[in-house]
Every structure is written in structure tokens, then in C-alpha cells.
Amino acid sequence: MKAVAPAPPRAAMWLARHLVRGAHREFLLGDLAEAYSLELARARSPREARLWFRSQVLRSVAWSLVHAPARRGSTRRIAGRRRPGDDLVVTLLANAKYALRALLRSPGFVLVAVATLAIGIGGMTTIFSFVDAVLLRALPFDEPQGLVVLGGYDRQTGAGRFTSSFPDFADFRDRNRSFAAMAGIDTGSAHLTGREVEPLRVSLAQVSHELFPLLGVEPALGRGLLAEDDRVGAEPVAVLSHGLWKSRYGSDPGVLGRRILLDGVDHVVVGVLGPGESFPESTDVWVALESHYTALEHRGVHTLKIVARLGDGVSLAQAGEDVDAIALDLRELYPGTNTDQGGRGSSPCSSRW
């Protein structure tokens, strides 16, 4: 019976076949295969032989890449020049080898270049993370292209302004003809306390009851905020983020109906959102705007952000004209507070603001 030669580890052999260069390639590959069968007979275990083979292949590949001459032409190919008929891989390897040698001759330069690259890449990554979150990544909500934020500018300073007073928000919400829905949001933080648990600082969003339906968000547990919750004197209720529900309440469904203290005020937990559904980003707790907001009557206090969903068939430009006209009206109606307020316009929404 004819003895079958043991096959060397396939991945290592594949690597050798593709990366070993030079005129002796075929002989070297044959030597590697033969040496493996010798090592297999000698080693304490097949695994040891395989490890030995892999290290031999890596050493031979490294040696070949640095020392072996290009397959065709002279022994030292001039980097950067590709001649007709040259193998692209061979030219690339020649260039890589030339670059490696040049770099090894100037370690100081390599250090400075690597440090410069590291700083550059780090900076670009940071900028991209911001641009990605603000401009590129689609919001995780239904038809995100229909979501806009209302913005304006200060007529005296020309500075952009993306906040509004509650009375202005109420006027925009009630008088516009361009938006299917509009919600006001005020963000901040609060101390979450309770019996037998450590106090925790949480991100709090006071939002009008339109927000969740406007975003198309259905709570995973319980309910969202209702119009009855969103009025002065209503019993304070809270909706929790999935993250807070998980970390603070151990994903206990019994949290619904439980009373929690936010800045010392009793709130009933009425709902928990699904994972990833957080708007504005990183909010832990949502409460109803009108039962909490302290400047409901003050047209001069601009702390509310306004997010809205465009009506069917309404363009961003048309919506902008609509809110500009309302802003102009408000300026005439309330010269004491709105004289400096320029047309508000609107712009596409992002999760960070």
C-alpha cells in the first residue's frame, strides 16, 4: 500500500504559497512540506508539529518579503516604477520593502510620523463621531426625514437661536398649518431617590405629551404621556428609559405604578421605553411639560426646544415660510418680548441638541 504524505496545515501553506517570493519559491515550498513530515515524526504531538510549521512559514514569509528579489528583472526593483508586464503584487511588495528599509534607517522620523498620524486619526475619529451622530446617522424613529427642529435668530446680534418660550411654542403649535404634530422639550437633570436605594443623578426631559406619538415611539411597558398628564396640577408621572429600568430596577415589570422621587417630588412610573429609544439622546426620565415647567407664562424665557413632524406633502421650505409668518405676527403682538426675534424657520432634526 502506498503511504500517504501528511498534509501540512492548510492555512499556513496557503499563506506561504501566496506570500513567499523569489526564484526559489517552489523549492522552498517543497522543503517546508517535507520538513513538516519530519517534524511530525519527531514532535511530541501533532499540535507541536503544526505550531513549528506555522512559525517556520511566518519566518520564511518575513524573510522572503524583506530579502527576496522581485520575480522578474533585476535583483533590486526601483520602488515606484511599474514597468509594462510587471506583476502588480511584485511591484507593490518591492515598494513596501523599499519603504520598510527607508523607515528602519530613520527611527526618529518614524516615531514623529506615527505620533502625527495617531493625533490626526484620533482627531478625525472624534470629528466623525460628532458628524455621524448629528448629520449622518438616521434617527431611530419612523420616517426620520419628516422630523424637524424649529430655529430662529436674534435680530440684534444675528446669532442663531434654537430655543423658544412656552407661550411662543403654544402659539406655533396652535397656529401652524404645516406640521402634523409639534412638541416642546426642556432638558435638565434631577436627583432620583427612593427607599433603600442610593440617590442617583439622572437626565430629565420635560416634554409635551405630543412627543412620543410624534416620534412614533410606543413604550415597551405601560404607556406614554397623555394630555391629562400634561396640564398644570396633574398628578406627576414619569416614563423611564430602558437603560435606567434595567440598571436601577433590575428590569422589574412591577416598576409600573411604583412611586419614585424626582428632586423630592413624588412621581408615578407609568411607562418604560424600549432599548435604544431615547430622545433627546441619553435621557433617563421623561415627565410631562405643563405639570412641571415653571415658566409657562413667560414669553421672555427661552429654554424650550421645539421638534415637529412635517405634514403630508409639506416641504421644509413651505414649513419655514409658515413659521416665519407666525414669528412676524408674534413680534407685532408682543413687542416687549419678541421684537428681537427673527423668522424662525426650521431645519432637519438630529438626536443631539
Binding site: G22, L28, L29, G30, E34, A35, A68
Partner: protein, 115 residues
């Protein structure tokens, strides 16, 4: 006069001398590992073969393909007369330089190995 031989070149040529008609990558590598304690990458061996062949000190011929080599041929090497002379010169140089120092060198060896 041929170039001065480097230490590794001398070792490889001595291996060819010992292996006679059966000197190729695998056997030379084994010989170097066994006698000189050198664990050499196969690629490094071929670079040296190449250099010695270009100097006219060794020559090569093709062997038969075998199954254990995946159907690939061996490249067998042997010393050329110029190689034999160069190797002899190196050995004579070393002998002249070490003449009378044998006992001392043995002692150094014992001190190094602790035997």
C-alpha cells in the same frame, strides 16, 4: 581570490561537504540545527545558497519530485572547486589563528558552559 567567507556561509558550505550528494534545503537545515545548534528559517538558507552560487562557490541541480514535498522537486547543491578552496582557506586561517590556543579555548568553553 574569492571573497572572505562569512561565518554562516562557512557553516552552510561545511554542511554541503558533509551531506555530499544529498544537500538541499531540508537536509542542510537539519545539519545546521543538529551540529551548530542554529535554528534557521528556510528562506534565509536560500538567500545564502543564492549568494554562494553567484560567487561560483557552489552549484545546483534539480532532483526528482516527491510526494512528501507535494510533488515538488528538490534543489540539490554541491561545492564547486572554487568553494572547496575557499572553505579550505577559511579553515586554514582559523587553524593558524587558533594554533597553540586550543587548551585556552577549551577552558573558555568549559567556563561558558559550566562543565
Amino acid at each position: 581570490m574569492a571573497d572572505h567567507l562569512g561565518e554562516f556561509e562557512q557553516l552552510v558550505m561545511l554542511a554541503l561537504l558533509r551531506l555530499d550528494e544529498n544537500a538541499y534545503g531540508v537536509t542542510v537545515r537539519e545539519e545546521l540545527a543538529e551540529r551548530a545548534g542554529r535554528d534557521v528559517a528556510m528562506g534565509a538558507l536560500y538567500t545564502t545558497f543564492d549568494r554562494l552560487e553567484k560567487k561560483g562557490l557552489i552549484s545546483s541541480r534539480l532532483g526528482e519530485p516527491t510526494a512528501v514535498r507535494g510533488g515538488r522537486r528538490k534543489k540539490l547543491y554541491r561545492l564547486e572547486p572554487a568553494g572547496q578552496r575557499a572553505l579550505s582557506r577559511s579553515w586554514q586561517t582559523l587553524s593558524r589563528m587558533t594554533e597553540g590556543l586550543e587548551a585556552t579555548l577549551h577552558r573558555f568553553g568549559r567556563e561558558t558552559t559550566g562543565k
